[in-house]
């Protein structure tokens, strides 16, 4: 500003744009159509993203259909108190955390390993065919995957038929809590490990091949190369994916649980999303479940911020 103010008169004399009206400027000409384009987008985000956030006030109210969101009575933190004292809702929060932490802990390495393995394949046709196969399950809905799993592990399913032939006994895989959890985790890996590997594969292509040559010259074996070149090379991507996974720790997808669960394992399978559906939407307890939803969103939000802060310390933050 200071530098410019030295010769303001000359500038004004030189530029005819100064005398033009704002709506004749290039900037306005560019912006007007862009803003017209953007109006539906703003409406969309206000109505379907921000209005629900405002609607979260019902978590502090006793929502009834007749009084509406704004007319209903304020109850302060009563809904939250109820949530954190009821053993049922505590168990549901515990289940959610257990299943999602296990999903991350067990499932997270699979795409990385798969990507590293695929990256080591030299025959292009083989790489392409394996990729085609392992990406496929990602595109199936959980209804399909659940249908496959339930059919295969059912009492009359192929796994039990084989088991019976071998040992003479069958095992109720879907009706036993620990085997149910194993099936839950396994089906998640089966569905998405392949597709998640794409991101790591992309990161792998950016590693300088000469590093491997040099390591090989120095007599480093495959394991050493993977540990010292490949893994450090993709670690930024790994950190980003971990941050994103953290944001989802409070959420166990509704579909997956819904298609796999049954009443016998509900002690472990009932999670926040299925609870909100059953108690909130079907049972009409909007305020209570909105409070649970707010708690879920808040924890996820804080976790993402925390993980990012930690990642930033290592110079790897998302923002």
């Amino acid at each position: 500003m200071k530098a410019n103010s030295a010769k303001p008169i000359r500038l004004q004399a030189k530029s005819p744009g100064q005398s033009r009206r704002f709506w004749h400027t290039q900037r306005f000409k560019t912006n007007a159509p862009l803003w017209i384009m953007f109006i539906p987008v703003i409406v969309f985000y206000l109505v379907f993203k921000y209005a629900p956030m405002a609607g979260l006030v019902i978590a502090f109210k006793n929502y009834t259909f007749y009084e509406g969101i704004w007319g209903s009575q304020w109850v302060g933190f009563a809904n939250f108190e109820m949530l954190f004292t009821q053993s049922q809702s505590l168990q549901i929060i515990r289940n959610t955390l257990l299943l999602s932490v296990l999903s991350v802990a067990v499932g997270f390495p699979f795409p990385i390993i798969l990507a590293i393995m695929l990256n080591e394949v030299r025959k292009k046709w083989f790489q392409k065919s394996v990729q085609t196969l392992v990406y496929l399950p990602h595109f199936f809905s959980w209804v399909i995957v659940g249908g496959l799993v339930v059919t295969i592990f059912a009492q009359s399913g192929i796994v039990n038929a084989a088991l019976e032939k071998l040992t003479g006994q069958s095992f109720a895989f879907l009706f036993n809590e620990s085997s149910w959890v194993a099936i839950f985790l396994g089906s998640g890996i089966w569905k998405d490990a392949g597709f998640s590997a794409i991101i790591y594969l992309a990161a792998l292509t950016s590693i300088d091949p000469s590093l491997y040559e040099a390591a090989s010259m120095d007599g480093a074996g495959k394991w050493k190369q993977i540990r010292n070149i490949t893994l450090p090379g993709i670690s930024p991507t790994i950190v980003i994916m971990l941050i994103l996974a953290m944001g989802r720790v409070m959420e166990v997808g509704f579909d997956q649980v819904y298609v796999l669960q049954n009443s016998i394992v509900s002690g472990i399978s009932e999670v926040i999303s299925t609870y909100i559906y059953a108690i909130g939407l079907q049972g009409g307890q909007f305020s209570l479940t909105a409070a649970l939803g707010l708690f879920e969103s808040l924890v996820a939000f804080i976790l993402v911020l925390l993980t990012n802060a930690v990642a930033r310390r290592f110079g790897r933050g998302l923002w």
Partner: protein, 291 residues
């Protein structure tokens, strides 16, 4: 370069394990397909593995004649086609302005939009908004709240940002406005990316399950996923089919029908998959690199 012995063992293991991984993704599908095509005795004996035995098409015949599978299929197609078209238009309307440096408020709007990825109102308030708009039991409840997937929009935005500035300058000198620039230059340059995003939306709408379950009540409006899930879930539907058709369809088992129902959802996916495969890798990669 000569490979050492250790390296050779590594490669052998690598190939074997990857082959297993590939097969593991295929086996359940083959098994289900065989079940859906096998006769009653074979299914009951429990030893239909990867090849159909006593081949019969009765499960499929029964599904198409005795259940509203065809109507649900048509509903799924309608939901997907209209949904993808709407979402693509609005997502472009969001991504293009945000990709232009001249756009007023670009920074704040981007922040406000990214914030919705980190914090959401959640299911119940969203449901209240959708129902207060009178969208319950219409497909509008499926389309409107899903018009823009912020993740897809960010991928699209970073792709638009990479359109060379010279092209934009040149077209401005020619006197074209923003709309023309978008339609004639930016979009044609981005076709592969648009195909990818279209694929993501397509898969989303085709697979939509939860939203259909909570927003759509009329049985005749259900899509394929919900219908099949109801059939797989409730024995009642199957029992009904069984008692209804015992005379004419004695070669059918509940397992066979369930398997056939699942196959009906898988088959369209398998047909489209090879066509689209070359696009989605690219799309995911753009998103990964540009964040």
């Amino acid at each position: 370069m000569k490979s050492t012995r250790g390296e050779r063992t590594f490669y052998v293991f690598n190939y074997v394990l990857l082959t297993l991984a590939g097969i593991l993704c295929l086996l359940p599908l083959l098994h289900l397909a065989s079940l859906s095509l096998s006769g009653k005795n074979a299914v009951m004996s429990g030893f239909v593995t990867l090849w159909p035995q006593e081949i019969t098409f009765e499960s499929y015949k029964l599904l198409f004649e005795g259940t509203p599978v065809l109507r649900s299929f048509a509903n799924s197609v309608l939901i997907t086609v209209v949904g993808v078209a709407l979402s693509m238009v609005v997502t472009i309307c969001a991504a293009y302005p945000l990709s232009r440096r001249e756009f007023y408020g670009r920074r704040w709007l981007t922040l406000a939009i990214v914030f919705t990825m980190l914090f959401t109102g959640g299911l119940i308030p969203t449901y209240l908004v959708v129902s207060s708009l009178g969208l319950v039991n219409t497909y509008g409840a499926l389309w409107l709240p899903a018009l823009v997937s912020t993740y897809n929009m960010m991928i699209m935005r970073s792709f638009f940002e990479n359109v060379p500035e010279e092209l934009i300058e040149a077209s401005r000198i020619d006197g074209s406005g923003e709309w023309r620039l978008l339609l004639r230059i930016v979009l044609p340059l981005s076709l592969p990316m648009l195909a990818t995003i279209g694929l993501f939306y397509g898969v989303y709408y085709w697979n939509s399950f939860f939203n259909v379950m909570i927003y759509v009540n009329s049985p005749e409006k259900l899509n394929l996923t919900v219908l099949i899930q109801q059939m797989v879930r409730s024995q009642a539907v199957l029992q009904e089919i069984n008692t209804m058709d015992t005379q004419q369809a004695s070669n059918i088992t509940p397992e066979g029908i369930k398997a056939a129902g699942i196959m009906i959802m898988i088959i369209p996916m398998l047909i489209v998959y090879p066509l689209l495969q070359r696009y989605f890798v690219k799309g995911v990669t753009i998103g990964a690199i540009k964040g």
